[in-house]
Assembly symmetry: C2
Homo-oligomer: 269 residues x 2
């Protein structure tokens, strides 16, 4: 298998995203290696040794994705036996020309703390945890969004991802059987109707998830899952609540859809 | 302010990471716009209108970062009044030549569900929640890692990020005053010593965070914060527990350091 390396003097998240976006276009498998925090000559030499060892072991040049701006470290990595793909160098100078401002290469800190985004996000995580699973229905004033749905339709991971990735405060509320029987929103939700966003899921997938949690229960039965989903979708339509079916989507896709549909302000780019 | 657009037929996370890594090199501010899920001709035309409106409003060509592989949609976006930066086109053909395999452009789904990574991550989120803040000390067998530290040193956001981003099961345990007084690990942690990773933080920052939570309390006092941190760092050194100071780091950096230092297996690339 061809080895691929993602290297940077920071988290290497940018190199990973860059390399993975490219490699995912190819119908083959790669061996993935991340080397983060390569901030010194010593670490650069170690990284080079690792790349060269992988080239030797597999008999193929490794694909090396990096984003170095420091010349000394960059030269060491560039001198390895792998093939180098450095996307910064292709684009920096065209952008400089376009905007008429010179780039100021600094140690690469795309994923570091800046513009107070860290505080927003930690606040949002604390909010999501304190308002998870209907645990604090008196606190919806402070929510940016309130995710609703039946138990195990994806509310908690989505709330946490909105918090960690975007600094968005998401509460979530699981509809109870009583809510669904009456086919109406509880009063404490009605007051914040504009913030409500619904999740739904296919019955087969819901049964599978619930069965993992509570095998052979009424909770995970086909009858119960189908009934809850039928009622919740009726409620969304009746109350004109926007909603998304999470079955085939990753948490990145669910939250990107929520941001796109609601136009919610996010605190981090 | 120069407008920047991040556009894709999926989440647009790749375009955002790509554009943001570049723009963060320039000592100026940009106006950020994300347009995700541009999957149809109609949506492409709408996106083009939005870009053109921003160019007109600011009197400057927008910088447009995209990753389209569909030719029809791509041509529409490429015909806007902005300047296009498409990093896929620069790198696909060199990689094709290097690995001898033709790319199979498909609708761009880098951040979608594949290889069961979704299930790993949701399991890991559930694990992190059930084992947050020392709430379930009997369950450390299943942990990939156990984060320890004093209250508010960054354990919970780090555990959740490890789960959501990497599918790693992280428990976390806040040392009690008794643990620190005795300067020894509780028995239930000793049994899993190889999985333990410590967090620490500067006293001033800890006081600030705790004061936001419980103003003017013993908990947030300088004396208490300094004492706890002094003891916890002594304990790390005595027990040879690897640790990181989270004060100046984002949650991405903290977790990347944890992965780099522990060599933990991750479930998602």
């Amino acid at each position: 298998m061809r080895p691929a390396f993602y290297i940077s003097d920071g988290t290497a998240i940018t190199s990973e995203v860059f390399g993975h976006a490219l490699l995912s276009l190819f119908p083959t498998e790669f061996e993935h290696h991340t080397i983060s925090f390569v901030e010194t000559i010593e670490k650069a030499l170690e990284a080079k040794d690792k790349i060269n060892a992988a080239c030797k072991r597999t008999g193929q040049p490794a694909l090396v994705f990096h984003t170095f701006v420091n010349h000394e470290i960059r030269e060491i990595i560039d001198s390895c036996d792998g093939v180098i793909y450095n996307f910064l160098e292709h684009f920096v100078s065209p952008i400089e020309k376009e905007i008429g401002i010179a780039a100021k290469p600094k140690a690469h800190r795309t994923h570091s703390i800046h513009e107070n985004s860290y505080d927003y996000r930690i606040d949002a995580v604390n909010y999501a945890l304190a308002n998870d699973d209907g645990s604090n229905i008196s606190n919806y004033e402070d929510a940016d969004i309130i995710l609703v749905g039946v138990s195990r339709s994806g509310k908690t991971p989505s709330s946490l991802y909105l918090a960690l990735q975007y600094g968005v405060k998401a509460a979530n509320y699981p509809f109870t059987e009583e809510d669904l029987e009456d086919l109406r929103l509880p009063e404490f939700l009605k007051a914040h109707k504009k913030k409500i966003f619904g999740l739904t899921i296919d019955a087969d997938r819901l049964m599978e998830i619930r069965d993992n949690r509570m095998a052979n229960s009424r909770y995970s039965s086909a009858r119960q899952c189908r009934m809850e989903l039928r009622e919740v979708e009726k409620l969304y339509k009746k109350e004109k609540i926007p909603f998304v079916n999470t079955t085939k989507f990753s948490v990145e896709e669910i939250t990107a859809k929520i941001l796109a549909e609601t136009g919610l302000q996010r605190y981090k780019y």
